[in-house]
Each structure stands twice: as structure tokens, then as C-alpha cells.
Amino acid sequence: MLNGTTAEIKPRTALRINPAKTCQPIGAMYAALGIHRCMPHSHGSQGCCAYHRSHLTRHYKDPVMATTSSFTEGSSVFGGLSNLTQALKNIFTIYQPDIVAVHTTCLSEVIGDDIPMMIKKATEDNTIPAGKHVIHTNTPSFVGSHVTGYSNMVRSIIKYLAQSSGGTRDQLNVIPGFVDPADMREIKRLCAMMGVNIVMLPDTSGVLDTPQDGHYQMYPKGGTTIEQIKGMGDSIATLALGHFGAHPAAAELEAKCNVPAGFLELPIGLTCTDKFIDALRQYGSTDVPESIEEERGRLVDLMSDLHQYFYRKRVAIAGDPDHLISMVQFLVELDMQPAYVITGTPGQHFERRIKDLLKEHAPNAVVKQNTDLFELHQLMKQEPVDLLIANTYGKYIARAENVPFVRLGFPILDRTGHRLFPAVGYTGAMRYIEKINDALLDQKDRECEEEWFELVQ
């Protein structure tokens, strides 16, 4: 399929080939699923909603619920007010959620639908039952990426729901970037080990990694409750994990409720997890328990054991910016050599931060935002790498170039580990060391000459 890819990079003025991103609304839908008893609502054509649900289902292998305004030609001319009004009526009648989180699509953005006005009208007309909530965020598909959509929704949740009562609660807010339920579960586990009381928003654990219990539940047990979200305005501080996915929401909360925001990166790898643990220690006024020290010690032990297989290996990595910023630091800790670091999501911070991280260790690395996997493949043709890290779509390149491949991020459509095991924390770091090591050694065992085929590694 990629046989036609050449090393020569011709300037493209208008074309995206094999994207390293997707559109905003899917991120907003995912974030909304992290509220307990929430129905995400897609204000646009019904295809958007179907695509997002299918895509999320393929990644999480769990049912994904969302409703749609089912736009017709009429709505695209006269606006989507009647669609949204009817939708809200129907949703509260049949599905009975506690909250509906509306996100826009390119269509409703271009025709200029004013969602806050529509929600206001629905409130005045008593379309929204007492005690129920409707919130919204704008997610034009032609701006940013799925990460932007996630970030926008989390920020809007805060904007609509968080309140400051004037008092203080002995709790920290944790806002994770666009990570999997297993990651959110791991973050909660670390906080519990630290003895820090937290509210995490959004929290898709228990929503998209539900146990099989013989029933289909529209609203599983998980998710941040509305009461918890309201209370976030009284927390001691907020830890936001990820510049792109989480920081805007924390900044919003600081501005709205005066809750100080701590801006961190995703706790992927040793140093980034250290920083997260240290922030918990400081904000939570607690000590790091021995159990966490030991977990960290096991990670460092594993890094020592395997460093000879990793050092100076060239790596190409593609994915979402928050994942990459942390993963690149981890690769440097493993003494690997990031050669190409690309994301489809636009944003200058990505290039600045990664270049800064690599300025001594890998000053010649190519770092690009707002590009695609086709360009990454071309770069790899110019000078090959020893390892590729990307989401599922990297597999085409891995096959074409016969390069060891480790999956990371969203979406992963062809493997299952991400559903259950984290990428974050010391545990996630150990898991990725195992994955990288397996990929490198499996390749060697499969490809090397007989005389180099070794039993003990």
C-alpha cells in the first residue's frame, strides 16, 4: 500500500495523506463520557455521531453511547434550533441522563448555530427537566484536532458546572489529558497510594472499561459525578496533566474559582511520573510512601537491566502532542535517540518543547507539528530508524520498512492491551519498556542470521 512512498519530500500545498490526527468532536464525545450519567450529544449530521461511536468502540471495545441532532437539508438552511430542542426532549424522555453534553460539528459551526441561546431557550421552555443539566462546547472540525476537542469539552464542563462556595475542601483536582480509562485508573491508584484525596475530571474508567456482568448498561458506574465537578471549585489546587489536553481547563478553573493550577505533563516515563508524584506530595502535604518508592525502584532496576539493548537506538515517534512530549523524555531517559517526532495536531508549543528536550541529546531530530504519517514515512526513507512508536496507523509504515513497532496513543484498533494496562505511571513505564524490548528482540530473533540467533539475551 505504501510502495509508492519516496524519500524525496515534495512540498505539498493542499493535501493531507494518511493523517496523524482526527477531528475535534470525537475528543469532545470522549471527554463527555467521563461524566457520570452523561449523554454526549453531537449537533450535526448523524454520520458524525455514528463515526465517532464506531471509532471509539473499535478502540475501547465497549459500547459507546451518544445522540445526534440528525441534521437534514432543512436544518442546514434554517439552523438546528428545532433539531436540538426536539433532541433534548427525546433524550430526557427516553434515555434519562443527568446531563447532556452538546458539542458542535463543522456543519453546525459553519451555519452559525448559537448553542448557548438554544440551551437558554430550552431552559425557559422547561424542555430540560428540573435538576438536569445541559452544557455545550464548540468543536469546529476545521480547527485543531481531536485533542483540541477533548480539551474544549473539559474546559466547558468546568465553565458550566464548577462552583466556588467560598469554603475549601481538602481535595486536589486532577485533570488528565486525552488518555485511556486504564491510565485514569492508574492515576487514581497512585493518588490513593499517596493518600491524597482527589477529584478527577474526566474519568472514563468504569465507563469504557466496564466488566462483563451479563447486562447492558447505558450509564455504567464510572465517571465524575456532577456533585464532584461542582465541588472542584473549592479544591486546594488543580493538577493538569498535559499542555494540550488539560491545561486550558485548569486555567479556566483558576480564573473562575481561584483554584491554583499546577501545570504538569502527562506522567509517562520516569521523570514525568516523578514530577507528578512530587506535585501530589507538595499539594497534598504528604510523604511518598515506601510502596511507591519500591515501584519506582523496580522501574529503575528494569531500565538498568535493559539499557544495553536500548542505548543510541534511533526512534521515529508519531502521535498526540501530550503523549509525545512525555514519551520523548522517557526515550531520552532510556538513552534512545528520537530521530523523527511528529504530530498531526497543530500547536507551536509542541515543536518548542520537544526541541528543547532534545537540544543536547538529539539536536538533529526532526520535530514537526501539523503534519502527517506520509511525511514521517518519507523521513524514515531518508534515514532509517530502529523503532517506530505510533498509533495503529503506524503499522503500514512498520510493515513497509520492516521496522519494530510499538503502539501508543489513540486510536489502537488492532491490539487490546491499552484497554486494561496503563501507559502512565511507573507501571506504564515498565509496560512500555517491555513492549519496546520485545519488539526489538522479536525482530532480531526473526531476522538475524542463524549464527547470531541467541538463546540468552
Binding site: 482526527t22 448523524q46 455514528a50 459500547p63 441532532s69 427516553i94 459553519v110 451479563g214 447505558m218
Partner: protein, 459 residues
């Protein structure tokens, strides 16, 4: 479970209701519809044209979600599996995307030299008013290949309207080959998409009985074959929704008769071969060869099917598929395995489809148009089915309830068409239905695992 008043007439219980089912409605706003949009319909139908360029004109999402998600296989070209998009941004929305589209097309055609190009319009293209047709015309003239606009703006109807838009686009190619004479004993296979290699199986059957296949539209399709599709004597149309329009256009303009067929299940597959053979009655050898082929193939699989039937007899199934026509075949195929269809629904069925469904289903069967997952789950539990047949969004719902599943959509991994496909289907259904995993679903605790009763569960 609450069902909206507006939707109540879209659900009937066979034998209890006399009023006809209401269908072909736009989904009710606010329902968790399993349906998609116009773009989706066009994209799935045209995607398997392997040596054409497929460019999605719009923001990135529409291209991202349809990137190689359909296991429609190719025996040669792989170009179609890439994701090409104009990735429209804010400035394009303001100033228009025509320029970008022009450049994107030129860059791609120069790089890949495709036999034709399809340009899919997405929602906002319809709103910002890009003249996609004009750009296509210009590029076609400059590059000397057909560049075909697909009018697939998502909001302009349902998935079914997308099929029609696709048919209209592909129809532009038909009749453009140099040779024009009719080909003896020849057919086009319409509406099979070579999922898991199914077109190959079917084409091979026809070849073996002495029928020439001119074009498969669109399973493993080549542009040059489609260009001469008008030379065929007969169109066999599978999948009632997607390609019926193309068949009708060819009948109108080229006087090629069409027959609706299905390749799922022994009965339907045999009928599909006999229909064609009888059409070419001037050569009785064709029918004789068809009879022999059916005999041989059925002989090969029948003993195995009997084994599966022993394990599956008396089990109940729910079916939720895109087109209703597929549901007919599935009901019949399940019957052959001794299974009863207790729930059946489709996304795009028409009134005639649902009438026929009632004819072949047993009394008490729930028949539902455009079901929501909640309805589907509820009917599955209420009817206590052992198996759900559906697509990607239905799979995890079945599993959560502890119900076996068979993907009869894009994500099938084994060919389910043809005689060999029937065997694969039976094996897949049997393996899933009798899997020991379901005993761990609390709801099922205490029930016998398989019909043979040799794996009693601990209560």
C-alpha cells in the same frame, strides 16, 4: 423501556400487528441511532475501486474515520487504502476550498497516475458552496482522466442517498470503454464489495459454469472493467440498497435486465447461480454446469453443516444489519442451522423489504427499523437470544450481555458468501454460541452451555 411515540410504528411484532411497519424515515433527533450519513454510504460503496483515487474534500474527520476500515480486498492495486483529504481549515471555510481541492487533485494525480479519481463532498462543502463539479471538470481536462464528483454531503439524507450518489458517480464511467459490442453470456456483479475476498469466490463460481464476469461493482473493481460494464448481458444486484439504482440506470439506458440475488446461504447462493444460468438458456450447458457445481459444493459442506446444526438447533438469534436484503439471507441461513430468528432489524430497509421479512419470519419475531442500542439490547434480553449478528457498534453490546456475536459487516474476517462462506458462517456462529466464556456472565449462570448439554455449568 421507553420508546418514543414517533418511533413506535417502526417496531412490530410479527403476528400481533397488522399495520405495516413505518420505515425510510429520517432518524428522530436525539435518538442513539446506529445509522450513518450520505457520505458514509458513498464512501463504503466506492471505496473498493482499487485503482482509483479517492479524495475526501472536507475537514480531516471524514477521511480519518473511513481510512481503510473496510476489509474490501484487492488483487492488485493498493492505492485506495490510503487516506487522502484536503483537510479543510478555518481559512478554507472562509475563503472557499476550491483552490485547495484543485491543487490536491493535481498533486495526487501526478504522483500516482490513477485510472480515475473520485472527489467526495462532505457537509461543509455543501454549505460553503465550493463548485466541486467545476474543479473536477477542469482537472479531468488537464490530466486526461475521469475526475468524478460524488455529491455526498452528509446532511442531504440517509446512507441510502449516499448509495445513490455513488451510483450516479460510477455511472459516469460506464459506457466509456473503446469496445462496445455485447459480450456473450456475460454478467456484472453489482453490490458485492469483496469483504474478506467474497467477490473472488463468487466470480470463480460464475467462471466455472461458463459465465463471463465483465465488472464487479465494486468488489476488487478496476476502472477499465467498469468502463465496459455496459457490454454485459445481465446485471446481478446484491444488497438491495446500495446498487439497485445503478442497475436501474443501466436497464434504462442500456437495456440490461437486472436480477436481485444474494450470495449468503446455500439456498440463495444456488438461486443466484440458477437465475443467471436460466437467463442464458440458449446454452443449456450452463445450467447443467451450475447444477453440478451446486451439487459438488453442497456435497462438500453438508456433512459439516449437519454437525453444526446438531449443536445449534433450537437456539435463537437476533439480526441487526444495514440493508434488509441481507437479513432475508441470514434468516434463511440460520434456519438451515436449526436456529430461529427472534429479533430482526435494519438501518435502511424499505416497506417491501419488511413485508418480505414478515413472510419468512416466525410469528412473534420482533421486527424493527432503525433500532437504538437500548431497544436492541432490550429485545435481545426479552427474547433471550443466544446470538446477535451485527456490526461494530453492536458487538460490545452483545458481549456485555453475555451473548454470542457474528460480524456480518465490514469487520468480518472470513468470507461468509458462497457455499464455503456458509460453512464459515456456521463455524463462526457455532464457535461463538458454544464458547465457554458465556457461562461466566452472571445472567447466564445455571444454563446449559451448548445444545449437546455436555458442558453443564456450575450454578
Amino acid at each position: 423501556m421507553k420508546i418514543l411515540d414517533d418511533r413506535k410504528q417502526q417496531i412490530i411484532r410479527h403476528g400481533l400487528h397488522t399495520a405495516p411497519i413505518v420505515c425510510e424515515k429520517h432518524s428522530v433527533a436525539g435518538s442513539v441511532s446506529q445509522r450513518a450519513c450520505v457520505f458514509c454510504g458513498s464512501r463504503v460503496v466506492l471505496y473498493p475501486i482499487t485503482d482509483a483515487l479517492h479524495l475526501v474534500h472536507g475537514p480531516i474527520g471524514c477521511a480519518a474515520y473511513t481510512w481503510d476500515i473496510r476489509g474490501a480486498q484487492s488483487s492488485g492495486e493498493q492505492l485506495y487504502r490510503n487516506s487522502f483529504s484536503t483537510d479543510l481549515r478555518e481559512m478554507d471555510v472562509i475563503y472557499g476550498g476550491e483552490k485547495k481541492l484543485y491543487h490536491a487533485l493535481c498533486e495526487l494525480i501526478d504522483a500516482h497516475q490513477p485510472r480515475a479519481a473520485f472527489v467526495y463532498s462532505t457537509c461543509i462543502v455543501g454549505v460553503i458552496g465550493d463548485d466541486v463539479g467545476a474543479v473536477c471538470k477542469r482537472v479531468a481536462a488537464e490530466k486526461n482522466i475521469p475526475v468524478l464528483p460524488v455529491h455526498s454531503e452528509g446532511f442531504k439524507g440517509t446512507k441510502k442517498d449516499g448509495y445513490r450518489a455513488a451510483c450516479e458517480a460510477v455511472y459516469q464511467l460506464i459506457g466509456t470503454a473503446k469496445d462496445n459490442g455485447p459480450i456473450q453470456h456475460s454478467i456484472n456483479i453489482l453490490g458485492d464489495f469483496n469483504l474478506a475476498g467474497e467477490t473472488w469466490i463468487i466470480r470463480d463460481y460464475y467462471r466455472r459454469i461458463g459465465i463471463n464476469v465483465v465488472a464487479c461493482i465494486t468488489g476488487d473493481a478496476r476502472v477499465d472493467d467498469i468502463r465496459q460494464a455496459h457490454r454485459a448481458r445481465l446485471n446481478l444486484v446484491q444488497c438491495s440498497g446500495s446498487m439497485a439504482a445503478l442497475g436501474a440506470m443501466m436497464e434504462r439506458d442500456y437495456h440490461i435486465p437486472l436480477k436481485r440475488v444474494s450470495y449468503f446461504g446455500i439456498e440463495d447462493m444456488s438461486a443466484a447461480l440458477y437465475e443467471a444460468a436460466k437467463f442464458f438458456g440458449d446454452d443449456p450447458e450452463i445450467l447443467r454446469r451450475a447444477e453440478k457445481l451446486v451439487r459438488d459444493e453442497v456435497g462438500k459442506i453438508y456433512p459439516h453443516l449437519r454437525e453444526f446444526r446438531k449443536k445449534l438447533a433450537g437456539k435463537k438469534a437476533a439480526i441487526y444489519v444495514g440493508g434488509a436484503f441481507k437479513a432475508f439471507s441470514l434468516v434463511r441461513a440460520l434456519k438451515m442451522l436449526g436456529m430461529r430468528t427472534a429479533v430482526v432489524g435494519s438501518q435502511t430497509g424499505g416497506p417491501e423489504d419488511y413485508r418480505q421479512l414478515q413472510e419468512i419470519c416466525d410469528p412473534g419475531t420482533v421486527i424493527v427499523d432503525d433500532a437504538t442500542p437500548l431497544e436492541l439490547a432490550q429485545f435481545c434480553l426479552e427474547q433471550d437470544v443466544d446470538l446477535l449478528i451485527g456490526g461494530v457498534k453492536e458487538r460490545p453490546i452483545a458481549y456485555k450481555m453475555g451473548i454470542a456475536f457474528c460480524d456480518h459487516n465490514h469487520e468480518r474476517k472470513e468470507p461468509l458468501a458462497g457455499f464455503v462462506g456458509m460453512l464459515n458462517f456456521a463455524r463462526e456462529v457455532c464457535n461463538s454460541v458454544t464458547s465457554p466464556v458465556w457461562q461466566f456472565a452472571p445472567r447466564r449462570r445455571g444454563r446449559s452451555l451448548s445444545a449437546t448439554g455436555n458442558r453443564e455449568m456450575a450454578a
